[in-house]
Amino acid sequence: MTDGTAEAAWVQDARAGSAAAFGRLVQMHQQALRAFLRRLCGNAADADDLAQESFVFAWEHIGRFDPARSFRPWLFGIAWRKHREGKRGWLRLLKRESAAVEGETSFAPDPGLKLDLVKAAETLPLEQRAAILLCLGAEFTHMEAAQALALPLGTVKSHVARGREKLAAMLGGSNG
């Protein structure tokens, strides 16, 4: 059974109420979603919390998911919206500040070029960064990224092209 057919079967079972099937979906997508959110948030603890929230939301609303479509963009779309809402939420800001006070370590990438990449990506506008992270970091197609971000396909293509140019320009010096 390929990943795609297995996923379709798990989605169907999860829609019928199977927590075990949904657990398999979580297992299948957790790494990619957590990586995406870590790059977007820049903080591992916040990102994992957000990833859990996204999965729980997906479980509670999986009845609304159209099985004719791909599960991954739908899931990442939930995470993206939650991240955007969270950036505006005062409670998350408060939690982030209290975590900083408690000395929690933030996501620390390896030094060198990778650090430059993280810093460079942080300078991109949020939507552009998300498009770049999905298309280059999570191997989404432009169409999948457009679904996840709820943006027109042309906008996503433009975000990816411009973002890539900016990253290349910023990292050009680091890369020699």
Binding site: R15, G17, A19, F22, G23, V26, Q27, Q30, Q31, A32, R34, A35, R38, R39, A44, D48, A51, Q52, E53, F55, V56, W59, E60, H61, I62, G63, R64, P109, D110, L113, K114, L117, L133, L136, G137, E139, R164, L167, A168, L171, G172, N175
Partner: protein
């Protein structure tokens, strides 16, 4: 800097597969479901108690002669039966 280089740099940041994360997600979902059911049950009980308090004087007047000694027992029984049968109808269907 080309696309494969960017991909390789980001690929190095992918967290390891973590069964604990899966369990934490499912536990959080269960906790939320339990809290929602608890809130619905408490809400239902409060509504039932208010309704009971409103209709009790009339019921006492009507049943004073026959059922008065058993009224409190019957009321509790009624609430329990009502909650048992009504609660699944009131809760949103599990998708």
């Amino acid at each position: 800097m080309d696309e494969p280089v960017l991909k390789n740099l980001w690929d190095a940041d992918v967290p390891a597969a973590d069964l604990g994360f899966v369990l934490a997600v499912m536990a959080r979902a269960e906790q939320r479901s339990f809290r929602r059911e608890l809130a619905a049950t408490i809400g239902l009980a409060v509504i039932a108690a208010i309704l009971l308090a409103l209709v009790m004087p009339a019921m006492e007047f009507t049943w004073q002669e026959s059922l008065a000694p058993y009224f409190s027992n019957l009321a509790i029984l009624g609430i329990l039966i009502g909650a048992t049968f009504l609660l699944p109808q009131l809760l949103p269907a599990q998708d």
